[in-house]
């Protein structure tokens, strides 16, 4: 009978967790939908255009219309494709993009799973995303898709190292892998946020984040003008839409992580104002705006330039700054780096 009780507890935990996951994923998907709208509007303004303005007031229903259109479309599986893996590709792209959100805290208490090794978990899960891209490119049995997959794999593996080292700096400063502890280590106003002592790592993380999500100017994996659309050229309908959902969910994830680790998360910039989730959303929104701004401003990097930037510029910068942080912590000025 005792075992029965434990099973009942387990079932209750599973159901309650499922409810929490739905509560987390639904706003995230809405955020993704309206991020595409924001992107088209903002880049439109930057290029002196209007952007979407036909569906709904000021085009506000445009993402809904797009989603409905994609849902109605047929999913075509090429006859030469490896059917099982072709379907598995998009699933493996979206799954890590959503699973990483499990440990993201929104306030001191609002978090799905507050685990000790949260930062490691995020790094491990986001490193899985590349499989979906590789499998999609390979299973399509198409030259352009395969080229896109190869480019993407090389790029993501290269930038992950710089990204990981940038996070090493953060965990040295916070002395914890727990994301809530990392944010609380930055308490006491904007001048305590980690982007000041870890400024080089902040820049590296932000730029490597753009590269990890395959966004312009690092979007050689898609490269419309060279390889049509890269790894997802053979996908249509919802299968194609899933790749886009994953890309935008990853963008929001990287922006949120940047806000949490370098910009003080939900802490307010001045101690007079109360902390709250609003600050986190504002900071995330700011970083997302930077993403869109980059896309509207910079031309696409050449492939060898991407590799050079990742291996010969970012990795040395991060290693040097980790040594600087470690060394400074041993001096009387160590408090500046905590």
């Amino acid at each position: 009978m005792e075992n029965m009780g434990m099973d009942w507890d387990a079932i209750q935990t599973v159901v309650w967790t499922l409810v929490k996951i739905v509560v987390l994923v639904v706003p995230l998907m809405l955020g993704v939908a309206y991020l595409t709208y924001a992107e088209r509007k903002i880049i439109g303004w930057m290029q002196v255009r209007i952007g979407p303005n036909r569906v709904g007031f000021q085009g506000l229903l445009q993402p809904i219309a797009d989603a409905v259109k994609l849902l109605m479309k047929e999913i075509i599986i090429p006859s030469g494709a490896n059917k099982g893996l072709f379907i598995l590709g998009p699933i493996l792209v979206i799954a890590p993009a959503l699973a990483a959100w499990a440990v993201i805290p929104f306030t001191d208490t609002l978090v799905l799973a507050n685990i000790n090794a949260g930062l490691l978990y995020v790094m491990a899960i986001t490193s899985m995303g590349v499989y979906g891209v590789i499998i999609a490119g390979w299973a399509s049995n198409s030259k352009y898709a395969f080229l896109g997959a190869m480019r993407s794999a090389a790029q993501i593996v290269s930038y992950e190292i710089a990204m990981g080292f940038a996070l090493v700096g953060v965990l040295m400063a916070a002395q914890s892998l727990n994301l809530i502890d990392i944010v609380q280590g930055q308490a006491g106003g904007a001048h305590h946020w980690y982007f000041i002592p870890l400024f080089p790592l902040f820049l590296v993380y932000l730029i490597a984040g753009v590269a990890e999500t395959n966004r312009a100017p690092f979007d050689v994996a898609e490269g419309e003008s060279e390889i049509v659309a890269g790894f997802h050229v053979e996908y249509s309908g919802m299968a194609f839409a899933v790749f886009f959902l994953a890309e935008y969910a990853n963008m929001i994830l990287v922006a949120t992580l940047t806000a949490l680790m370098f910009l003080g998360g939900w802490l307010s910039p001045v101690t007079l104002l109360p902390d709250g989730i609003v600050w986190l959303l504002l900071k995330t929104g700011f970083v997302l705006f930077l993403f869109l701004w980059f896309r509207a401003t910079f031309p696409r990097y050449r492939y060898d330039q991407i590799m050079r930037l990742g291996w010969k510029v970012f990795i040395p910068i991060t290693i040097v700054w980790i040594a600087v942080v470690g060394g400074m912590m041993q001096t009387p000025y160590g408090y500046l780096f905590h």
Binding site: N3, N116, L120, M128, V157
Partner: protein
């Protein structure tokens, strides 16, 4: 059966299945993907043993980096399975020897009276705030610092050796030096030639 045991058997079944498919799958890309599944499931099992640092590092290093490069290479290779199967009977004795040795090693650990469950006992579960990462880091950098540094140096030597073996410098290969590009001044690239807009009267070739 508790919830944890159920999870363990679920993971163990997937792990054994994935391991078998790694060696039986005909398509090498499928085999590599099943190896990824095996690593991921093994990480899940380690998580059940409260070794969260090892579990996450297994995913981060083996699934996130090593297997990506492995898959990268396997996809580019044109592997002819029939030729791979040619030497099956020649290799069988060596393979048999290795697998017998593996089984003996496993039997020594799993079946012996010295490492059995009744001797070792179940370790007490740690509290939720116990940081596996911190404990491991403290051990590695204090008690086992020499072994750890030695391993690091050996890895470094291996990296240097691998690069030295594959690095071939061709004299005629062309590459871009960004530093040189940045240093270029206008005068290095651009020459302004002053020319008169209209030919002088009487000197022009086809004039008058």
């Amino acid at each position: 059966m508790t919830y944890t045991t159920a999870i363990f058997y679920f993971f163990a079944a997937i792990l054994v299945f994935a391991g078998l498919r790694v060696i039986t799958a005909r398509n090498p890309v499928h085999a590599a993907l099943f190896l990824v599944l095996a690593f991921f499931t093994a990480a899940g099992l380690w998580m059940l043993l409260e070794a969260e640092f090892l579990a996450i590092t297994l995913v981060l290093v083996y699934v996130g980096a090593v297997m990506v490069l492995f898959l990268f290479v396997v996809m580019m290779l044109d592997i002819n399975l029939d030729r791979l199967r040619e030497g099956f009977w020649d290799y069988l004795p060596i393979a048999g020897f290795v697998s017998v040795l593996l089984m003996i090693e496993m039997a020594l650990i799993l079946g012996s009276r010295h490492f059995g469950l009744e001797v070792m006992g179940t370790p007490a579960p740690r509290a939720a705030d116990y940081s596996n990462t911190k404990a491991l880091g403290r051990l590695l950098y204090t008690d086992y610092v020499y072994a750890f540094e030695l391993a690091a140096v050996i890895l470094l030597v291996a990296i240097v050796a691998a690069i030295a073996l594959t690095l071939r410098r061709r004299k005629d290969s062309k590459y871009i030096d960004p530093a040189e590009q940045v240093k270029v001044k206008r005068n290095d690239r651009l020459r302004i030639v002053k020319m008169q807009s209209t030919p002088k009267r009487g000197t022009g070739e086809g004039g008058a």
